[in-house]
Symmetry: C2
DNA sequence: CGTGATATTGATTCCACTCAATATGAGTGG
DNA sequence: CCACTCATATTGAGTGGAATCAATATCACG
């Protein structure tokens, strides 16, 4: 039996309950990880893509840079997240990805992946589900930026981060959010100044406090109500995934 | 040899060059289509999903409705587009989809699909590529709404529509855009009033004219420059798809 | 203890919103 | 064929939320 408590395994098990054989394969996948530092690029737009990445530890993000020098953060990746799923399709990285914190990543070359899929088809489906969930998150951010005011937008983002954490719900009232106000501004389509003011305003309402990258959510329920947050898009009904194969088949 | 000129086939052939056998399978896929009217719902959030839809004719869109009654258009679908790819993963529709115009759709039940994939694995890959491109479009709209001003935003949207049309580039200077200013506002996170003003402003600059849902692009190059449009995200490098199978194999 | 990154606060500006009035045009029935 | 209606679009006036500019403040770190 392998290290079942790895972040990635815990993340995958939100979608499929894994067999021992599958756990073994995944443990193998994370076998050799390498350390990366905050600010390091994992890849850049246009790079050739021939690996899947597992973010074993740390946070990272994908971004688009605009001609005027501003940038838009597209996705935020948390420990355990799998990066580069979409690129499986066409072999070209389509946005810049860099580390927000120090961390560890393990790489998985496409040929090894194919091999993995042959032995555990359900993992392929799991990737498809994850890609799908990413799209839902992107859509939700579009809604945020297009339709919600600054306070709702920030509140919604905090709710989403909270919901994505792997810790049990009870332990998610305070957590580390390793994004500077500049990062938050770039993610939410706001100015840094207004991020600051909006945090003040949320604090005034007794909803949230932030100090040195630490978030304390004082009133989760009221925050979600304010944000119009509905976590359904983060869940997934794994029923339609291929059923767990009989143990014999994967001996 | 089947009806090669169907919208869907032309769309798929942007990604893979299809064999005769694959063309036959696809023609079968579109065999029985049914008419739908502008405003008809194709499905709603939460519906059980067990079919893929091909939009044989007409335009449609997916949308999220907010508690305050406003809505955000997420995706715009053009003739030939395939709807419900993501839902293959978890069997639940995740947004409302309705027709913008009259049209025709043909449905494809999942069991039939699996059968299809067995006979033509490359079509499965093609779906994955398409899902991926959709995500890229969503990301690009997020960038638009978060970072571009009204003029660039509308200009960018028009450039994208133009690029997605199946007509040869020379014939895309004028086209039908069957979205009301209300629809455009809902898609771009603006007010109807400002859509109107922005069209005026684009007309003043000699870039675009709109009359009764008809768009005339006067200066495509300058429009793209203004919008910061780069169509790369709409293309896809199909190299990494499984190679075309030998003819014998699919007899 | 100084330095540079990060955050707060105040003053001002501006883009896009809202409200409201008017225009245009397609469709309908007298 | 014209008058009426309803949906859609245009235009003007006034407002406001968030941006920008600018001046501190806080804090981690060497």
């Amino acid at each position: 039996m392998q290290d079942v408590s790895s972040h990635m395994v815990r993340r995958l098990q939100r979608f499929v309950s894994l067999t021992n054989a599958e756990l073994a394969l995944l443990a193998d996948m994370e076998r050799d990880s390498r350390a990366v530092s905050a600010g390091d690029w994992l890849w850049q737009e246009g790079d050739a893509a021939d690996t899947l990445l597992v973010l074993t530890e740390g946070w990272s993000c994908s971004a688009r840079y605009l001609p005027d020098g501003s940038r838009q953060l597209l996705e935020i990746f948390l420990p355990g997240d799998i990066l580069g799923i979409g690129e499986l399709a066409d072999g070209k990285r389509r946005s810049d990805v860099s580390m927000l914190t120090d961390g560890r990543i393990s790489e998985y070359a496409y040929p090894r992946l194919r091999e993995l899929f042959e032995r555990a088809e359900r993992l392929r489906s799991a990737l498809f589900v994850i890609a799908n969930q990413r799209q839902a998150m992107l859509a939700e951010r579009l809604v945020s930026v297009a339709r919600r005011n600054a306070r709702q937008r920030l509140a919604h983002f905090l709710c989403e981060c909270r919901a994505r954490l792997l810790e049990p719900a009870s332990a998610r009232q305070r957590f580390l959010l390793p994004l500077s106000q500049q990062d938050l501004a770039d993610a939410l389509g706001m100015s840094t100044v207004h991020i600051s003011r909006t945090f003040s305003s949320l604090a005034c309402l007794g909803l949230v406090r932030r100090r040195h990258y630490h978030i304390l959510i004082l009133d989760p329920a009221r925050l979600e109500r304010l944000a119009g947050f509905n976590g359904a898009y983060l869940q997934c009904d794994p029923q339609l995934l291929a059923p767990e194969p009989p143990a014999a088949e994967i001996q």
